[in-house]
């Protein structure tokens, strides 16, 4: 942006230190130098301190025996397994609670969000009260409340609450019958897979036909029949190849069945209820963003209320809802790290907690943990950008 005076007069003489280009380069060199110096200083101090404290560095610990137990794991793990194995156990536990939490938070959030727009005064106020109270109390407090004040206050093993159907509830968790597949169950799974593929094929065919001829097909009913009905029929035909292993109360512990830890349940409750309050606001904003004219136009074209909602309002609202909804899902996943406060064995509790304390290799352990979350976040935002560019309004 140098000043360039034409019409005969010589260009104004700008001293080189006032030239924006020179200045910009000088600033950038200075910034790089400062950051480079900081990084170099930090690295040399770290090497120094680690040598003094006699802490190993590098990722050799990955293959060492962990030597601690983990209360919940989805893959086989004993205290003889390696730290690397413990990492995968933690990561899977994090993903498990995040996935189930996302499902629950979405369901509650959509219900509450729509309830906030309801004309029913009581429903509206109850939903607003829920959102205001839950959003303004820290998640950590809610988690501690669910864990210490609710789930740990349940009766102990001897006075377990018996739930009809063979389940037990006590302060060690929820114990449910575990379905055990007998021979012949694989046919049911094959039928289920076939049903899903069949309904996708049917949906495509129906859409093509509607585009061509305008004739509609009962896609929902046919898919329901294919996905639920066919496997059920096969299940009965194969002679009910499924038994349940019921939990039994021993003297000191329960045996058999599926065990839901109170830590897991508390984390799941807390995350779902907290995130649902934010999702409710996202949903409300999304639906309100669809202007009333759209609904009126749809009615005047002769569509009734349900198809108006399904074909006009929801598709437009989703365009507004999905990006902030995704960031709420990411927040839920990141907030699952609060598991460390109530002792649910997630990635942070196992890895940044126990493994860090045992090995002392702070830099490697924290870096690995951060890399995991960073990968999840960046992958999600990558997909989000692709999605956004696909659904963005095409303006003329």
């Amino acid at each position: 942006m140098s000043i360039d005076l034409r019409a005969g007069s010589p260009p104004a003489r700008v001293p080189f230190y006032n030239d924006p280009k020179v200045r910009s380069i000088a600033y950038q060199v200075a910034l790089c130098a400062v950051i480079g110096f900081l990084v170099w200083g930090a690295a040399s101090n770290a090497i120094d301190n680690l040598r003094k404290a006699n802490i190993a560095s590098g990722f050799g610990f990955w293959e060492q025996t962990a030597g601690f137990d983990i209360s919940q794991s989805m893959i086989s793990y004993t205290n003889q397994s390696t730290y690397g194995r413990a990492f995968w156990v933690g990561l899977l536990n994090t993903l498990l609670v995040a996935a189930i939490g996302i499902v629950f938070a979405t369901i509650i959030g959509f219900i509450v969000g729509i309830a906030r727009l309801s004309k029913n005064w009581l429903v509206n106020k109850a939903a607003s009260g829920y959102v205001e109270i839950i959003r303004n109390i820290p998640l950590l407090l809610q988690l501690l409340f669910w864990y210490n004040a609710v789930l740990k206050a349940l009766p102990d093993l001897r006075d377990s609450v018996k739930i009809p159907g063979g389940a037990f509830l006590n302060n060690r968790g929820l114990f449910m019958p575990e379905p055990v597949a007998q021979s012949g169950f694989q046919f049911v799974l094959i039928a289920l897979a076939a049903g899903i593929i069949g309904s996708i094929v049917y949906y495509r065919w129906a859409k093509k036909r509607q585009d061509k001829t305008g004739q509609q097909a009962p896609v929902f009913l046919v898919s329901l029949g294919l996905i639920v009905g066919v496997p059920l029929a096969v299940f009965f035909a194969a002679g009910l190849p499924l038994t349940f292993s019921y939990p039994e109360a021993g003297r000191f512990n329960m045996s058999g069945g599926i065990e839901v830890l109170p830590e897991f349940a508390a984390l799941l409750f807390g995350l779902s209820i907290y995130t649902a309050a934010f999702i409710a606001e996202v949903v409300r904003a999304g639906i309100r963003a669809v202007s009333h004219g759209q609904t009126e136009a749809s009615y005047s074209l002769g569509l009734r209320s349900p198809p108006t909602l399904r074909l006009i309002v929801v598709p437009q609202a989703m365009r507004v809802i999905i990006p902030p909804l995704t960031s709420q899902y990411l927040n839920l996943t990141k907030n699952s790290t609060l598991a460390v406060a109530i002792g649910y064995p997630d990635l942070v509790q196992i890895f940044t907690g126990t493994v860090l304390n045992q090995t002392g290799q702070a830099v490697e352990v924290v870096a690995i943990t951060m890399a995991v979350y960073l990968t999840i976040s960046l992958t999600t935002s990558l997909f989000m950008n692709i999605y956004n560019s696909r659904i963005a309004l095409v303006e003329r």
Partner: protein, 388 residues
């Protein structure tokens, strides 16, 4: 007035009303309490079912809460026996004597008792600052910013940490706790995150590639990881990165973590504000010969910050709630002092935990709700200037 034949014919018809009727009030069933009920609670069968279900739920929930907090609550007592169902032979609600006895611990942590007046002075100074900068009618609001962002931090540090030369003995941060730490952590986050956030936002929009690169890296990195891991990084990695003798104390490490985290989020809020400023404003500022910093200081930032005030306050609410996470790296904030107190054998009863959490819940609810009301009021006030 002359009448045409047709009009006359109409006038002679007995069954046509000749005068306009007075306006009638709407039917009884459409107004008043009944009308309101019909419209708002029982307009359709589905709504009737919903109303009944929600009413039943609220009738179960609200009396339960009131009963626990007030009716069945224990108001006086010396130790756990006052709050035990077996001893008292009645249903027991909240155990308020426990909260009352521990109130000073919840407020000051382990801060030495003879020095606690210093914390009180700090709270008073902070209250003055907040009222001064937030109330629109306060005198000399231009000085309030200097007070809040320069005078207050320095005075608070001297007051709380101690300064031997003027007779204030040093109090180690290990002893700080309770509401004091919660407020200090959130205040530092609030005061530090705004200027750094602005710089990062400007850096992200800068023309200089390396400035932009480092800003984007920092913002995306910090926003991509959970706060817990940032705090872990600050508390276990930071001491490795500095020479041993300069190793920061535990509270300072947590403060650095919180400040980094809050700055990255603030940067994105400010950036959103900058993007809402039309390009003409930048061009206009350059055309009148302003340099980069003058342009930002005088033209762009005042407008950008004005429209982002509600979002800034929302970020502060999030930050205030997030300060509870310092609990995880071993700082004694309000939640941590409650967590420690509820395990005290002197007060071990089934209701102690719930009472403690109720105290914390009310504290956070009041503060966060007040902040969100302020954000909404500001939004409404600023919207006035855009109304035509």
């Amino acid at each position: 007035m002359t009448m045409s034949e047709g009009d006359l014919a109409v006038a002679q018809l007995k069954f046509v009303r000749q005068t306009t009727l007075e306006q009638q009030p709407p039917p009884k069933s459409m107004t008043g309490a009944i009308g309101w009920l019909r419209e708002n609670l029982i307009s359709t069968p589905f709504n009737v079912v919903l109303t009944i279900l929600i009413a039943l739920f609220l009738l179960w929930l609200i009396p339960g809460i009131v009963k626990f907090l007030l009716i069945d609550a224990v108001w006086t007592g010396a130790d756990r026996d006052a709050c035990r169902e077996i001893v008292q032979n009645r249903p027991i609600g909240a155990c308020w004597p426990f909260a009352w006895e521990r109130l000073s611990y919840f407020t000051y942590g382990s801060y030495p008792i003879p020095q606690r007046w210093r914390v009180d002075v700090f709270f008073a100074m902070l209250a003055i600052g907040v009222v001064w900068i937030l109330s629109l009618k306060a005198p000399r609001r231009d000085l309030a910013a200097y007070y809040c962002f320069i005078v207050l931090p320095i005075c608070s540090f001297i007051l709380l940490s101690g300064f031997e030369a003027i007779g204030l003995p040093h109090v180690d941060t290990v002893l700080w706790g309770g509401v004091l730490v919660t407020i200090v952590v959130s205040a530092v986050g609030i005061v530090v995150s705004l200027p750094i956030g602005i710089l990062l936002a400007l850096g992200r929009k800068s023309d200089m590639p390396t400035v932009k690169l480092f800003s984007v890296l920092f913002i995306e990195f910090v926003r991509g990881v959970p706060l817990v891991t940032v705090l872990f990084m600050a508390s276990v990695m930071l001491p490795l990165f500095v020479p041993e003798q300069y190793s920061p104390d535990k509270l300072l490490r947590a403060l650095i973590g919180i400040a980094m985290f809050a700055s990255a989020y603030m940067a994105e809020v400010v950036r959103a504000g900058l993007q809402a400023i039309p390009k003409g404003q930048f061009e206009g500022a350059m055309a009148v010969g302003l340099g980069y910093w003058q342009m930002m200081r005088l033209i762009i930032l005042p407008q950008a910050l004005k429209i982002t005030i509600p979002n800034i306050v929302n970020t502060y609410i999030g930050l205030f709630k997030d300060t509870t996470l310092v609990f995880i790296v071993g700082i004694f904030d309000l939640l941590h002092t409650i967590e420690v107190s509820r395990l005290d054998p002197k007060w071990a009863t089934p209701v102690t935990s719930t009472t403690g959490y109720a105290v914390a819940g009310i504290f956070y609810l009041v503060f966060c709700y007040a902040m969100s009301r302020y954000a909404r009021a500001t939004e409404a006030r600023l919207a006035k200037s855009d109304r035509r």
